[in-house]
Symmetry: C2
Subunit: 179 residues, 2 copies
């Protein structure tokens, strides 16, 4: 662990075990951890690495392949996506407890957006290989993580689909009005 | 199993074990099963129930709570969602191999759309309680199912987000053009 070329520009603080109390304190703000016990957080921390990112530093770059997700342990991160003119647009500013990059961790496809530390940030990283080890070595913890990921993705998909259908409805309304 | 009030109007054909060959044949068309071995399909079938739905019969109703997903084993199913005028709009016609209702199985929230058999259909049902039993009794199979669900949801979320951003881009373009 810790030899991730995509994170080589960050300060590597070692495995997350010594941050497990801080990670545990994130539970109320973190969907991934919402049903975790302190013991499960400690177990999970064992499989994660912590990095420090200075303000303005990219931690995930849109379009890159990627095999890890990250949890913001401290600090704020901006999420940006390039528009059709290739100009980065701010999608969100996210805070401690938020997880990012889950989709690429699972499917390895290109990162959907860029994430930049808005202030000095501590991030805990879980990669696909560590998740695979959790599933084999701690299958109930593995199932719990996967179940939480399914829940989070379901909720985001519901919200996104609802927004999409709302816009499509508006468009068809505009078409009707234009007739 | 088999005592699901929401499916009481369908013909219950018993557990899916005797359909496991037919389910196995769906692998090339079924994202959920794409990495399953024949032995894993048999194991999974043991936890599912099969029902027959006549043409025109609803198998999932938009807005209902729900704790099961289904896999179309045979036949075609229409997916409909009510628009702002409460008129059902056809979103898709889906075929054998397609799974439906995964989100509500996991999060228990309201069904996003209605699913109606377009021709006589066989559906295999997996409910939340059976998934919980799989995770405890067959943790590796449980992790595999959850991993495939995460993958499917990721792909749908990427596609939906892309469409949403495309529409938002178009809108901002229209606003610019209208200035």
């Amino acid at each position: 662990m810790g030899d991730r070329p995509q994170l080589a520009h960050l300060e590597h603080l070692g495995d997350a075990t010594k941050f497990s109390q801080q990670i545990h304190a994130l539970i109320p703000k973190c969907s991934l951890l919402e049903n975790f016990s302190p013991a499960e957080v400690r177990l999970l921390a064992h499989f994660m690495d912590v990095y420090r990112a200075k303000p303005g530093v990219e931690v995930i770059r849109e379009g890159d392949g990627g095999d890890f997700m990250l949890m913001i342990v401290e600090g704020k991160v901006e999420v940006l996506k390039r528009d059709r003119w290739n100009t980065p647009q701010l999608l969100a500013v996210v805070e401690a407890g938020r997880t990012l990059g889950e989709m690429s961790m699972i499917d390895g496809e290109a990162r959907f957006a860029t994430c930049v530390a808005a202030e000095t940030a501590l991030i805990a990283v879980l990669d696909r290989e560590a998740l695979a080890r959790i599933i084999v070595e701690q299958p109930l913890l593995g199932a719990k993580i996967l179940m939480e990921l399914v829940l989070m993705l379901s909720q985001r998909l519901r919200a996104t689909s609802q927004r999409l259908l709302g816009l499509l409805d508006e468009q068809s309304q505009r078409t009707v009005n234009a007739l």
